[in-house]
Amino acid sequence: MQVTAELLKEVGLSADEYGLIVEKLGREPTQVELGMFGAMWSEHCGYKNSKPLLKRFPTEGPRVVQGPGENAGAVDIGDGLVAVLKIESHNHPSAVEPYQGAATGVGGIVRDIFTMGARPVALLNSLRFGPLDEARNRYLFSGVVGGIGGYGNCLGVPTVAGDIFFDPAYSGNPLVNAMCVGIARRDEIMRARASGPGNLVLIVGADTGRDGVGGATFASVEDPEASHRGVVQVGNPFLEKLLLEACLEVLKTPHVVAMQDLGAAGLTSSTVEVASRGGVGIEIDVAKVPRRETGMNAYEVMLSESQERMLVVVRPDGLDAVRAIFEHYDLQCAVIGVVTDDGLVRVRDGDKVVAEVPTTLFTDECPTYVREGIESTKIAELRARDVLAVPDLAEHGDLTASAALLRLLGSPNIGSREPVTRTYDSTIMTNTVVPPRVGDAAVIRVKGTTIGLAIKTDCNPRYVYLDPYLGGAHAVAEAARNVSCVGAEPVAVTDCLNFGNPERPEIYYQLSRAIDGMSDACRALGVPVVSGNVSLYNESGSEAILPTPTVGVVGRLADVRRHVGMAFVEGGGVYLVGALQATLGGSEYLALIHGQVAGAPPSLDLELEAAVQRAVRDAIAQGLAAAAHDTSEGGLAVALAESCIAGKIGGRFDVSAVLAANGGRRDVALFGEAASRVLLQAPPGGEAALEAHLQERGVPFQRLGTAGGDGFEIEGHLALPLAEVVRAWRGALS
């Protein structure tokens, strides 16, 4: 085999890395081995740029049952149960074929959950696109949303929450992050660690085709269009549903030693990973892998990313029982190899050995890079800009408070998500207590217990762009705050680090600082990171996306009936809990109305954040609150409007204290953004009790007014019929 620069480029290895392979192997790799190294040493599988940074995350805590390193993380939720969670990106495939890219993203994350022996109970999605006035972005948006619904709906797992954000930086490189949560018995969790030489390796599910050959490598280079030559992956949720039921049933038997889904880099990564985690060797024969097409070679079979396949390691005496279960579900399963004790990954094609490499060479010996990060001066300048140089709101003219409010509510970053969430089945499984749009986070019950889980994804990428450390911390704080706002205690984080090319110092800086910020926030709020995913090289035309460390938080409610939504009820007093100061820095208002992404993002006092969240969720748990809603994009006025819209009720609010705290700037008071702030409503007549509670907790709070009527009024600033407010908000995504 002639190893040319072109060939190395195709498998995504540098000349140095190739040299290292030859040195460690003591010979030139075969073609199949080279392809396998390319995949295993890609960023996607090998985390070569991110591994040293990921070590900074706090990953331990009293509830952690499984931290990073397995297919998904797991945390104890009581009653002998664990919540299993994981988020993953499918950005590059979605840029090429949005429907199938997003659909197979959902399929992949669901497999990560049931591989652990957990039943998937909820799906979330975190999406980023370029502006919808460009036709290509509209095509990507509708394709991605269609694919997420198409797959999840068919599978019968409810899609209960998520977040969507638009910015020109995502044109040509949308982000599609899918998260899944499952539930398992703590003592029944399965791990993907092969053991016991002589145990059999089975492949189950779909036939193998040429789909996505080279996908892992492709996810680790810029410009997906040019680098993707494989056949587009088409998902089959129907088959996945059978696989899901069959795998959960098989895992109830004593015959299974390990289970691993085939994701990026297909058979290559799944065999290497089960062997490496178990510290054993593995031998498979590609000739035994059922094919969808004729004429496939060993290289293609080893690197195919055909969907809906699982690797199962079973004890030989359990083979018949396991096979019978798969056959019951009309699934084919083929014995393709055995676990060995020689520490080698050996691939045969019939009689011929086409690859034979020590397992650890693929994993432990994968080079890692610690790079130097340097902040871009352009961004430092943007951050330093004086955002108060923009003119304040006026009594008359174009920039009145009511005009600004209506524009903000109609912004695609703020307005109604109904056109999206209506296409996702959110009620299947009969667990959904707080569906999308009803609360800041989704709440599902855990059948057979009083426990509830609250879940939400979040990340304000403008904050991260302007200040990666602070923005990373905000992402964790906001996702956790949303979970607290329905009454749950945040217990675990899963994260998806979407960044540009880490080989550029200014991108590496963003990645490294964002991880620091996230880590500090996780520590302060007591939520460990138990799983995650890294997606680098998100660029198109040499422009990187906004740095987007998406955070998914799972929270726990001891009594699921004690929850609230964000909808105001008639007659209850409305309070602002948290600090009164806000800023236009990094705000939606500044971007939408003044066309600037600039200034320092809101400051974040993590102690205050923790105290506010605790006070809010305890108030809810004690039945002292009727509604809660955090103030995020669009600031206080938008948050008040959102809770009125949700409650189909107006309200009269007085923000003079907020105005005073912000130096009399009306724009800052109404639309400035801040962390650690929550709108909390008392049930009618419950104001005194709620105030006493907040006082006792020592968190700052301010009464703003009362909900009621059919007008939306902020005294001295704006007064609008609720119907007009609703209309503006409704049209945001159409």
């Binding site: 074929e97 085709g209 040429r210 789909d211 587009v232 088409v234 129907f238 969808r292 055909s306």
Partner: protein
Amino acid sequence: MTTQADGAKRWLAQVYVSLKPGVNDPQGLAVRDGLHMLGYAEVDGVRVGKYLTLTLNAPDKATAEARVTAMCEQLLANPVMERYEFQVSEADGKAQPRGEE
């Protein structure tokens, strides 16, 4: 066959869109299995695509064909995973494409 006031004629285009070779077709597999369940064991492969009928006005067949090609490239087929073929014939004067007379 109708000729419009402006000299344009009405054409019927029958467009067949199918998945490219090698692209996984779960629907085709399910239909094949369904046919086997019904005893049609002689069927060994099924692929499912789209069949679109369009009526359009154009001065002549060559123009109609050129326009339909453009429509296929731009909208009717997804070049990442599909391919298309079509036939253009004179429409029979009815207002709707075949399928809606």
